[in-house]
Symmetry: C2
Subunit: 213 residues, 2 copies
């Protein structure tokens, strides 16, 4: 079995928006994303869950697949933090506290060098390269397992444009933003290259599942 | 997280039938089950898949969850083989050849003693006990992971009657048999004890997901 590049649990609004234009420390998504992510937080397998309970229906299959057979993650710099340009210092260690939910090597794409560091069992590497080169590095680190493409939206689009994504799971939430960074105008844009299942969940979101033709 | 007892990918006909009355070596399900199981065979993660390819849409989430966080399986004797009564000999090693797809300890429920044996990385134990006792043994062997209740239909019903099942995934296939061993008259029979998602798949089957209230 070859190693796949997988986008998972990537949530957008009904108008295809994944993030706002103005990300900040106070607003990691640059918009009020709480309602958009409720579907995931309600599941038993949500990685950030701190209390017992949670649903074990359809949505839980998706959240519990988050780490399944994943050996590395690739993320854009804007998922890692709100800073832009050269690093002022190396104090920022991501949004996730002492135990980031990745538990694998993570490759952060940035044009600005920075030393790798380890938090819990997650090691962050900072890499400057085109998507194909970074994917090659991540696959090597993943040791035979798949690679998760963690976002944000600009990074997902770069890898889609380079035709490097093997499977893509997009959750469309019934909220509308109007303005922001858009994954797509419509899922139909991907149908020339991908098979497609669309699955309405009883929770109110709609799962969109694409896999390479 | 406590250990769950999970029924997964358990497929029945539109009239709730999982097996025929007359199981035999030639007919492991006692009926012509090929069409009923097509949904699983079409997926990339079907454990018995020998060739590359296969779908990676909704149905694949279910087949790839088969072994995820599972540390042991419990099965009825009729899933293990077509024999009834005392073992004539110990030559029958199951339907699955030299590499059974379980890769964990498997507890076969039978009133007739038989020594354990190992094939590949699956060890079969033969246990005579009520469901609660067998579940206790399986949980111990599962080493903190969940236990899969593998069937057949009589065994699933025994554990449901004893209220020991935590999550139940039943796939309803659009075939009809009329006669055979029935899991249920209707899924509604379980709604007093379980939450319930019903999810039609683009493949034509309908996934029924139950989790304990």
């Amino acid at each position: 079995m070859s190693q796949l590049l997988r986008v998972q649990n990537f949530t957008v609004s009904s108008d295809g928006i994944a993030a706002g234009e103005n990300q900040s420390f106070e607003s990691p998504f640059g918009l009020d994303h709480g309602e958009m992510l409720e579907w995931a937080g309600a599941t038993a397998s949500w990685p950030n869950r701190t209390e017992p309970g949670g649903s074990r229906g359809l949505d839980d299959y998706f959240t519990r697949d988050f780490a399944h057979n994943i050996g590395a993650e690739i993320m854009g710099r804007n998922k890692f933090g709100p800073q832009r340009g050269p690093w002022a210092d190396h104090e920022w260690l991501g949004w996730w506290g002492d135990e980031p939910p990745f538990h694998t090597p993570v490759f952060v794409m940035t044009h600005y060098e920075r030393p790798s560091f380890t938090l819990g069992d997650t090691t962050f590497h900072f890499v400057d390269g085109d998507p194909a080169t970074v994917l090659e590095q991540a696959k090597k680190a993943a040791d035979g397992k798949d690679v998760r493409l963690g976002g944000g939206v600009t990074t997902v689009k770069e890898f889609l444009d380079a035709d490097l994504v093997d499977t893509l799971h997009v959750v469309v939430s019934p909220v509308t933003f109007g303005n922001g960074l858009r994954l797509w105008g419509s899922p139909d844009e991907l149908l020339d290259r991908f098979h497609f299942d669309v699955v309405p969940s009883p929770s109110g979101v709609t799962h969109h599942l694409f896999w390479r033709k």
